[in-house]
Structure formats: C-alpha cells, structure tokens
C-alpha cells in the first residue's frame, strides 16, 4: 500500500471517479436502510397479523363452544317444558274430575235446599192452620203433625248445611287445582320462550363463529402474504449488502486505499506513524469527534479510529508573532482579574 501526501488524498476525493463511487455507495446504503426498515416493518406486521389470526381463531372456537352450550341448554329446557306439559295435562284431568264432582255437589246442595224450603213452607202452613183452628180438638189434632214436620225440616236443614260445607270444601279444592294448572302452563310458557331465545342465540353464535373462522383464515393468508413480502425484502437486503461489500472492496483497487467497514485509509506520506482516514458516512456519535462523510482525518497506525485527530491547519501564526500570552502577563493587576 503506497503512502500518499495529503494533496494526493484530497485529489482522489475530489476526482469524479471517487465521487461516482461514493454516490453509488451512499445510494445503495440508503436503499439498504430502507429495505431493512421495510423488512422490520413487515416482520412486525407478520407477527401482529399472525397474533390477530390466532386470537380470532380462538374467539371463533370459544364462540362455537358457546353456541353448543346454548343449544344444549335449549334442549334441556325443552325436555323440562315437555315434562311440565305432561304434568299440566294431568292437572287439567284432575281439575276436570273435580269440576264434575263439584257440579254434582252443587246440584245435591240445591236439591237439599229445595227440600228444606218445601218442608219449612209446610211447617209454616201447619203452624198457621193450628193457630187459626177454632176448636180445641182440632188444634190438638194438628199439634203432633206440626212437630213431625218441624223435626223433618230440622233434619233437612242439617243435611242442607252438610251439603253446603262439602260443596264449599270441594269447590275450594277445584280452584286450587285450576291454579296449579295455570302455574304449570305459566312455567311451561316461560321455559318455551326461553328455549326459543336460546336457540336464536345459539344460531347467532354459530354464525358469528363461522364469520370469525373466515376472518381468522383471511388474517392467516394476509400474514402469509406479508411473510412472503418480508422474505423478498430480506433477500433484497442481502443482495444490497453483497453489492455494497463488492463496491466497498473495489475502492482498494480504484483508489489504492485500505478498506474498513466505515472508513477508507491511506498511509500518510508526511509521517510514517500516521494514517489518513476518510469516513464513508457521517458519524455524530461513537467516536471522539463528530465525523463528516468524505472528510480527511488522521489516526495513529496502532490506535486506528479509537482516537481520531483533525488535520493540522495549513497556515498558523508563527509562535514568535503571537503576543497574546505576553499581553496577558503585561496587563495591570485589575485587567488580569
């Protein structure tokens, strides 16, 4: 590797060949950064979309399970409703039997009342006849008749009260039986309505599950598409990296320099201990100086870019002409602070 004078390095950097090489390299590096950013973005989209697909699929399975549960519950309720319907038929039959019995009791009670009223009318008639009879003999003859009638009427009244009590008791039972029928019908209706609702919910859940399965499938396909795009971006990045490496290595042949990853180096002709170093890109951080692309800096042969120095300035004031230090020492006490 030939050592160069600074002017030679500057001439190389100012030449059209170097400018073309550097601009091409910068273009490729910029392209690589874009492709890498695109690749990273695609990877994160793949992960996100895959996660969404899994999440949607899980949602679909859960919803399908819920639909099954709803359908099972509806079937159980339907069985319960059928049992209640059967019980209701039995209760209606019981009620119907009771209704007939009560109807008969009502007729019997009416007959007993009729008999009682007839007997009481007869008693009243006999009593009136006895009171109206003129002779004592006639009155005496009517008295036993009246007593028998009165006793018969009392017996009829007892029977009527008994019939009335029986009727009321059995009628109350009939009402209770009817209430039982109504309760059974009401529960059965309630369950039937609930069954219908659950079936509808079950159907809806099944449809939702189907929609979610389709959505999960769509998301899976989307993730696969993104993965393919990501793979293409990765390959494009690899291709660019290969081309950048090739371009970088051509610098050695084109410009007679050593090629580092981020710098080009030329041994310094003015001093065998130093090397000219030219950053290919800007570096605001990471080195002891803020480096500008294509700027010329100096590094030691041993330390390399661990410590980078600026080039010495071309024209400096000869030390003997610099009076600033003398001025400082020549100032009065107040000026010196």
């Amino acid at each position: 590797m030939k050592a160069l004078w600074l002017r030679e390095v500057r001439a190389i950097l100012a030449g059209g060949e170097f400018t073309g090489w550097w601009e091409g390299l910068v273009e490729m590096v910029r392209g690589l950064e874009e492709v890498r950013a695109r690749h990273e973005e695609l990877l994160s989209q793949v992960n996100l979309t895959s996660f969404r697909a899994e999440f949607t699929q899980k949602g679909a399975i859960d919803t399908l399970y819920q639909a099954g549960e709803l359908e099972d519950t509806a079937a159980q309720l339907l069985a319960e409703s059928a049992e209640l319907e059967n019980k209701a038929y039995e209760a209606v039959a019981n009620f119907e039997g009771q209704r007939i019995a009560v109807s008969e009791l009502y007729s019997a009670m009416g007959a007993a009342e009729h008999n009682l009223l007839s007997a009481q009318a007869q008693v009243d008639e006999l009593r009136a006849a006895a009171t109206g009879a003129g002779e004592a003999g006639e009155r005496k003859e009517l008295q036993p008749q009246l007593r028998r009638k009165e006793e018969a009427a009392q017996e009829l009244e007892r029977r009527f009260r008994e019939a009335q009590t029986t009727y009321e008791r059995e009628n109350a039972r009939k009402i209770r039986l009817w209430e039982e029928v109504e309760q059974l019908w009401s529960r059965s209706l309630d369950i039937n309505l609930s069954v219908a609702e659950r079936r509808a919910k079950g159907r809806r859940a099944r449809k939702t599950a189907e929609r979610l399965f389709h959505e999960a499938e769509r998301q899976k396909q989307m993730a696969e598409g993104l993965e393919r795009e990501g793979e293409q971006a990765r390959q494009a990045a690899e291709e660019l990296e290969r081309r950048i490496e090739q371009t970088r290595l051509t610098a050695r042949k084109l410009f007679g320099c050593l090629v580092g990853e981020e710098f080009l180096y030329w041994p310094r002709r003015e001093s065998s201990k130093e090397v000219y170093c030219v950053p290919v890109g800007d570096h605001a951080e990471g080195y002891n100086l803020e480096l500008k692309a294509r700027g010329v800096y100096l590094v030691g042969r041993q330390r390399g870019v661990e410590f980078i120095e600026l080039l010495p300035p071309g024209d400096t004031l000869p030390e003997e002409d610099d009076k600033r230090i003398d001025d400082f020492f020549g100032r009065g006490p107040r000026d010196a602070g």
Binding site: A284, N288, L289, L310, P312, P313, E319, I325, F328, A336
Partner: protein
C-alpha cells in the same frame, strides 16, 4: 448551531482566533439532555469539560449523611468540569440538568490534540480556567471570612 460562535462567546475561550475556535468546534461534541438528566456524578473520573450553550444546570454536592445540597446553578455561557481537567481528580460534584440543556463537550484527549496544534491558544484556555478558578476561590474566601 454554529459551534465556533458559541465557543467564542464563552469566557473560557476568550482571546481565541477564529481558526482556533473552528478547530475547537470540530473537536467538541454536542450533547442534549432533558430536565433532571445527570451530566456527571460526583466521584466519577472526569474526562471532559462542558460548555453550557442553552438551558440551566444545578451543581450538587453530597453531604456526609448521603443527602445532597445545591452549591451553584449555571446558565449559558457558563462552563463546568474544568477542575478534573486541571487536577485529574474525580468529579467534585454532581451536575444535573434543571431544564432542557444543550452542551458542547471537549474531551481531555481532544483538548490535547488542540494543544499540540495551537500551543498559545491552549495556554490562553488554561489561563482562562485559572482566572475562573481564582475568582471562585476569592468568592469563597470572602464568604468564609464573613462567617468567621
């Protein structure tokens, strides 16, 4: 930011020629901090001096019991971190940003590069540091005397 201009406005670099300020500007590194960010901690090895270009910092000194007290607050174009440059001792205090802060930092090694090229200018910088340290010592002496 024109770093050379900022440097020339600072008392630390008073008397430097434009080309000297330009070189120092190239050797300095810009640092931006948020309020409450620590620039450096007391006890750390000091390897750079810092010029405040914008914002305000507080200088905190640890007491024996571990608590901290503020001993100074600095604004642009003040500078700090020069003591370690002179005596090579660890940082004597913690410096923390009070507001958003912009600094220009000059590492000891970069100052050494500067000194190799511009010996007189470096001497001026050292004189300026000595002047500031001297002024601070005078101020401290006066405070001490008023308390005794």
């Amino acid at each position: 930011m024109n770093k050379a201009e900022e440097l020339q406005n600072a008392r630390l670099f008073e008397g430097l020629l434009p080309e000297e300020a330009e070189m120092l500007a190239e050797l300095s590194q810009e640092r931006r901090l948020q309020a409450r960010d620590v620039v450096f901690e007391q006890g750390e090895a000091g390897d750079a001096l810092c010029l405040l270009v914008g914002g305000e910092v507080e200088v905190l000194r640890r007491r024996a019991d571990g608590s901290s007290c503020e001993i100074a607050s600095l604004r642009a174009p003040d500078f700090f971190g020069e003591m370690s440059l002179v005596d090579k001792e660890p940082r004597s205090a913690t410096v923390r940003a009070r507001t958003e802060v912009t600094l220009l930092c000059l590492s000891n090694k970069n100052l050494q590069s500067f000194a190799r090229v511009y010996k007189n200018a470096f001497t001026l910088v050292v004189i300026n540091i000595a002047r500031v340290l001297s002024a601070r010592l005078r101020e401290t002496n006066e405070k001490l005397a008023s308390r005794l």
